[in-house]
């Protein structure tokens, strides 16, 4: 089948992309602003077409543990939720990371803490990129900035997850989840019947039994395992860091922003340049791994880096670590479901420049 163009919500694009990619299973629980993913899949009923299993779990906790069980069978399984639900999933996520299983988790972020708001926010950055649950681990974190990327990152997320036997997360927000845009959908792929050699599929006589666990009571062995994980994360940083630059070549100032904020900043760059301010944008596409090296290079030639986030200032800490004091780093953010306007961002940059 040829590629298709459709007008879709970000949440719907995720669901449709999962079916087309050939995902084996989706396990979800309703929460605003991402319920369309589960609703779309239930209506599409892909079990009848591709054989993809779709199940509404009794809780986010159950859903992520269904993902754990399915991933342990070597299947391509996923779940989605929004901030309070993702907090509930953290137990399962750390077990999945500890058992080195591939899976895809989607967080359509809303403002917090607590029940917070149902409006978009980027205040789950720390939770997504620093681990989230207990123990030393990382997720591979992808930050879509369009409905197209919501669709594309389903396949990318699964591919990276299986390449590194590591859970991957799409860190989106309520704006991208709810807004409608044109999206080019990939053709339907057949679900793969091949399962990895480590998967628990029933032990044939030809191999030893496969055990999926995150437990090792021997501290020496557990430390070795932790070191192995660190090596994996270093390799991911080396090979999988993705980012986009916009007008950074001659920039004196740089916005660092992902997702919805990156789109706002792109407009802010245009507005500022109309006023003669040479500003560019670096948009991290992967939040873990973070484009540390590139930011460090850019720090040699820019006066200020401004992290623009819909949070109290989370990613800005990684920007600071990346530039390591080479240049001034500041933050502009709105919270609680408020979205900054491009004018607001430019105005804030001007204030910073004035203070220089």
């Amino acid at each position: 089948m040829e590629k298709e163009l459709k007008l879709m919500k970000g949440n719907e694009a995720i669901a449709e992309a999962a079916i087309r990619y050939g995902a084996d299973g989706y396990f979800g629980y309703p929460i605003t602003p991402q319920s369309e993913i589960l609703e779309y899949l239930m209506e599409a009923d892909p079990e009848k077409s591709t054989g993809m299993v779709v199940l509404q779990a009794e809780s986010e906790v159950a859903a992520i543990n269904m993902v754990y069980g399915g991933a342990a069978c070597g299947k391509k399984v996923m779940t989605s939720s929004s901030s309070p639900g993702i907090s509930l999933k953290q137990e399962g996520i750390t077990y999945i990371a500890g058992a080195e299983l591939p899976c895809l988790i989607v967080n359509v972020v809303r403002g917090g803490p607590g029940l917070g708001t149902i409006q978009p926010a980027q205040s789950d950055y720390f939770q997504a990129v620093k681990g989230g649950g207990h123990g030393d681990y990382h997720l591979i974190v992808l930050a879509p900035a369009s409905v197209q990327e919501m669709a594309d990152f389903v396949g990318l997320g699964f591919d990276l997850a299986f390449k590194y036997r590591n859970p991957a997360m799409i860190l989106s927000d309520g704006a991208i989840g709810q807004m409608m845009e044109k999206v080019e959908l990939m053709p339907y792929q057949k679900r793969s019947e091949d399962l990895p050699s480590w998967a628990t599929t029933g032990k044939p006589e030809t191999r030893e039994r496969n055990i999926i666990t995150s437990l090792d009571l021997d501290p020496n062995a557990q430390e070795k395992f932790n070191q192995k994980l660190i090596q994996k994360y270093r390799e991911i940083e080396e090979k999988e860091t993705r980012y986009e630059e916009f007008q950074t070549e001659d920039a004196d100032f740089i916005f660092v922003a992902y997702g919805t904020s990156a789109r706002i900043c792109q407009k802010a760059v245009q507005l500022a340049r109309e006023e003669g301010i040479k500003v560019g944008l670096l948009r991290p596409v992967t939040l873990f791994p973070f484009p540390k090296r590139r930011l460090n290079q850019l720090a040699d030639k820019v006066k200020v880096m401004m992290a623009v986030e819909m949070s109290a200032g989370q990613m800005v800490e990684d920007v600071m670590l990346s530039v390591n004091g080479k240049t001034k780093v500041c933050h502009y953010g709105r919270m609680g479901g408020m979205i900054p306007t491009p004018d607001e961002v430019v105005e804030n940059l001007k204030q910073i420049i004035k203070g220089e």
Binding site: F27, E58, V61, A62, Y68, G69, G70, C73, E205, R209
Partner: protein
């Protein structure tokens, strides 16, 4: 008279008992007199006799039997505390021709995993839940469980379990039997040869029902905990008969229609 040589009688036709091929040679970590070893062995024998080894996926709990995967020679997944039925749900849905079971203790299944237990049974997932109930948290050192009997002392109910402040023992088998999703609910024991034989029969029924996609099978094994009950194995079994069995009566609670 010819000298007796034991090797002369070691012949296949003289075999009266052997360890199941589905059990590994690893030494079990269970305390002397504990029922887990016997429950493991009985399950292993059923997997062998029903020729299920190559299509069995087992889910282990958190608790004393967390290391069960060291003892059974089958593919296994180690779940988070209480979540085994959620894992098993996905495994069975994604691989419907496999034999899928969870093995869970009372803290795992009846406290932290209550939601997963109830909803897995309510959806009638075609899995076996094997529930070992000894009325106490064994691995963490003898704390009160949801199934701890009234008046029973534990490290967190040192004056005895008090219904007014600590609630009453939860009868999980009776609870899940009320749900249409379960097809077979039974309570068994492993403290006597007769008990083991009955458990084996129950396990074989569960295999049959799972093969026929009849719904969730829930087998509770009422068991002991000599270490945390602070009794000898013999005394623990006697105490179990006198106190646990009246609270958790053995026998079938629910059988498929027509059985």
């Amino acid at each position: 008279m010819a000298e007796f040589n034991p090797k002369d009688i070691i012949k296949p036709e003289n075999l009266v008992y052997r360890k199941s091929k589905v059990l590994t040679d690893n030494v079990m970590h269970y305390c002397p007199g504990c029922g887990h070893g016997t429950a493991h062995r009985t399950l292993a024998e059923v997997i062998e006799e029903e020729e299920l080894q190559s299509r069995t996926i087992g889910i282990t709990p958190v608790g004393c039997s967390v290391l069960m995967y060291n003892y059974l020679d089958i593919d296994m997944q180690e779940a988070a505390h209480g979540r085994a039925p959620a894992l098993a749900t996905a495994v069975k849905r994604l691989m419907p021709d496999r034999f899928v079971f969870t093995y869970q203790g009372d803290g795992d299944l009846a406290a932290i995993g209550t939601a997963e237990t109830i909803h897995t049974c309510n959806r009638g997932e075609n899995i076996l839940i094997l529930f070992v109930n000894n009325g106490i948290y064994g691995m963490t050192g003898g704390q009160m469980a949801p199934t701890t009997l009234l008046g029973m002392k534990s490290s967190t109910s040192p004056y005895g379990r008090d219904a007014a402040t600590m609630g009453s023992p939860v009868k999980m088998a009776d609870l899940v039997a009320l749900l249409p999703g379960t097809c077979y609910v039974t309570r068994q024991s492993v403290h006597t040869a007769a008990g083991v034989r009955k458990l084996k029969k129950a396990l074989k029924k569960a295999v049959e029902y799972q093969n026929k996609n009849m719904g969730t099978c829930f087998i509770e094994v009422v068991s002991n905990c000599p270490s945390n009950w602070k009794m000898t194995p013999v005394a623990a079994n006697k105490w179990m008969e006198e106190n646990m069995f009246p609270a958790y009566p053995l026998g079938d609670i629910k059988v498929p229609a027509g059985e």
